[in-house]
Symmetry: C2
Subunit: 304 residues, 2 copies
């Protein structure tokens, strides 16, 4: 497939573009901040490992000094466990993530909710003997909803929103039993809009026949926490998690989906989160330049 013809990103307004640190996986937080600032981006979306490496206060200061926003913090979640110890540990870790988000000055903590207990051994996760044969997705989804409820008061007190990330059904078993925006919004509806939001990640939701109406609903209900862009490329990588591509390299119709997000009233940052071994091997500045070009060609013209 041909990459789109892009205007020079140097001429485009990249002030709503955000670099998720997983896109430049091998860069330190300081390096991510530096390449984002140099390219004229408006924000970064750090993962917690990169924040914890330098300490959350130093991370916050570094990002602020560069004049960048923190679009989201990635990630909390993994809250489908059923055993008391699993639940306590998951709640403690998510409270810490909420504290980190507050310290970084972002309102949006992305939650990847976790998969089926039967997949915990394969994922190297803390598990009981009973987990290994537990394929009950209905019960796992109920526990996820219960844990979100447990976390809401703590998050609201700190001005942080739990940003539910529905995941492509490719990942339902092992990473996220939350599969659609509609399901996420139904769960969110039990809580105030400033407490629980949803992430619109093109990779996860592009295929959804209800996507346009779900994005409109999310906008109407004030719950769009983040708009994240990366492409569905084929064939999938051997590690399917790392199959994402730059916008324009796969099968997603970015102009159309971006138009729906804009119609829904979203005015926040547009984050690029790509897991891809080939892209990880590129120099960070080159990755950010390509991000900017694709954003300028496929997304920015449809954002307003």
């Amino acid at each position: 497939m041909n990459a789109p013809t892009a205007p020079s990103a140097g001429q485009a307004d990249l002030s709503r573009l955000s670099l998720n640190t997983a896109t430049t996986k091998h860069l330190s937080l300081a390096e991510c901040v530096s390449v984002a600032e140099a390219a004229g981006l408006g924000a970064v979306g750090p993962w917690r490992d990169r924040v914890q490496e330098v300490g959350v206060d130093a991370a916050a200061a570094m990002i602020r000094r560069a004049g960048l926003r923190v679009s989201t913090l990635c990630r909390g979640g993994f809250i489908t466990g059923s055993e008391a110890g699993q639940i306590d540990r998951a709640l403690a870790d998510n409270r810490l993530a909420i504290d980190e988000a507050a310290a970084l000055g972002t309102s949006e903590l992305v939650l990847v909710v976790g998969g089926l207990p039967a997949a915990y051994p394969m994922m190297g996760l803390d598990h009981t003997d009973a987990d290994a044969s537990d394929r009950d997705i209905v019960a796992a989804r109920q526990r996820m909803a219960d844990r979100v409820g447990d976390l809401v008061p703590y998050a609201v007190e700190r001005g942080v929103r739990l940003a539910l990330e529905p995941m492509n059904p490719l990942f339902t078993a092992d990473r996220g039993v939350l599969a659609t925006m509609g399901q996420s919004l139904d769960l969110a509806a039990d809580h105030p809009a400033q407490a629980v939001g949803v992430v619109v990640d093109t990779y996860h939701v592009w295929w959804d026949p209800d996507l346009r109406s779900s994005i409109a609903r999310a906008g109407r209900e004030g719950r769009i926490s983040s708009y994240q862009i990366c492409d569905w490329s084929l064939p999938l990588a051997a590690n399917t998690l790392n199959s994402r591509g730059f916008p324009g390299d796969g099968f997603i119709d970015f102009p159309t989906i971006t138009g729906w997000v804009a119609e829904a009233g979203y005015t926040g940052d547009v984050e690029v989160e790509i897991f891809n071994e080939t892209i990880w091997a590129l120099p960070g500045a080159e990755t950010v330049q390509t991000m900017g070009e694709r954003y300028a060609a496929l997304v920015l013209p449809h954002l307003s």
Copy 2:
């Protein structure tokens, strides 16, 4: 993960179990019929290549002589094209498939509707220059619906139902823009229940948060064309199409989903369609024995 402990399949009633010929990919139709009959199965679900090898009338006679039903014919579809020649060729091939289904005495012709034009080159499909950059999923879905409408009168005249198969979003781009049972039922609603049905294939729909209500709706509307069972196994195979497993080897909760299908009033065959290189390397009789054991353990007790 441990395989379930099964009662001997020799003691179980396998009269509703059907062998899809893709499960024993390297067997001829005669060999498939022979192993299915020997194991006490009630039906086979042939693919068109296996039927065409011997001729449709000989195939029908062979299956009838063995006392087996034809649960479905696999498959028609690939109807998302936009160019006049593509449309004509797709309609002609689907009319031929309808004729073959009628000759085989099955009411159910499974349709895999096809993916985005942008994926046609990768799939080795007939395509135009414009197709290579066409990622418009909304338009592709409309063309699919239009072609179903074109085919309905021909199918109804021959007593054949177009059995829409929603596909796991893993395959939206390259194989099927129909992603959920709800979307399939909305499309079917424009046509009589004897004209358009839906396939409940566990591999494709197990993750759907609306699965229970969609199965109930399909039953209420008289549209369950087929119940097909195979498991979501991880990691995915290098060719992702071939990642399916025997029920019990992956992450799908067969007792629960089977219970929902039974509640919806389905009394038809339960077809096993597994694409898996390792299973294809087994002797056919061994594959059918394992199918029977897993069916007896995980599905049959929940079918009524």
